[in-house]
Symmetry: C2
Subunit: 90 residues, 2 copies
DNA sequence: ATTATACATCAAAATATTTTGATGTATCAA
DNA sequence: TTGATACATCAAAATATTTTGATGTATAAT
């Protein structure tokens, strides 16, 4: 959840929406530097949000559906638990 | 989304799961200082994640379902758009 | 009126995150 | 086997966020 906290990371996540991308793809599409992208990729990977698959010199990254699903479940629990109880005074 | 990025904010959000809370509630439950809580509340409010309702000296905060729903939809779109296309070489 | 409570806001300090540029490693092509 | 490409990693600098403690405002109780 905390790994969603950077706008560039959100951008990278959005790029992964359409499928696998390598760092070089992200470079072309975003004009961010290579090390900068690798840094953000690392954060996303450590958060368990993406998985990687190496193929020769390239590493393809993609979103982990399970992780995203768990986040959705958490959000659902926030709203569903007990529908907006009102507090009564003091 | 970016407002989810602080562990204390997540804690506050979790407290709101059960319904409305005031700053004083959060103080009792978390041992965070008042100004610290107000600061995080402000971030959450600016992100449109919570709404407030004043009642005398107290301000009750609660989660905005619509906002949470939109986030869920975004996450859904990430996985559903085109189910994990594989990239083919170069 | 005075005091206490609940909360907001502010500036400075503390802390954490991000960016940059350099360097390292592995794979592949020539 | 040399050079190029794709990416990771690192330390230092830049930047952003968070915390603290003080002060301010509104409401309510005495």
């Amino acid at each position: 959840m905390v790994s969603f906290s950077d706008p560039f990371r959100l951008e990278i996540i959005d790029l992964m929406m359409e499928g696998e991308v390598c760092v070089c793809d992200i470079m072309k599409l975003t004009k961010l530097s290579q090390s900068r992208i690798s840094y953000h990729i690392k954060i996303l990977k450590e958060a368990g949000l993406i998985s990687d698959r190496q193929e020769g010199r390239w590493v393809y990254y993609s979103l982990k559906k399970e992780a995203l699903f768990l986040i959705k479940e958490w959000i659902t629990s926030l709203t569903d638990y007990s529908s907006n109880k009102k507090r009564c005074c003091e």
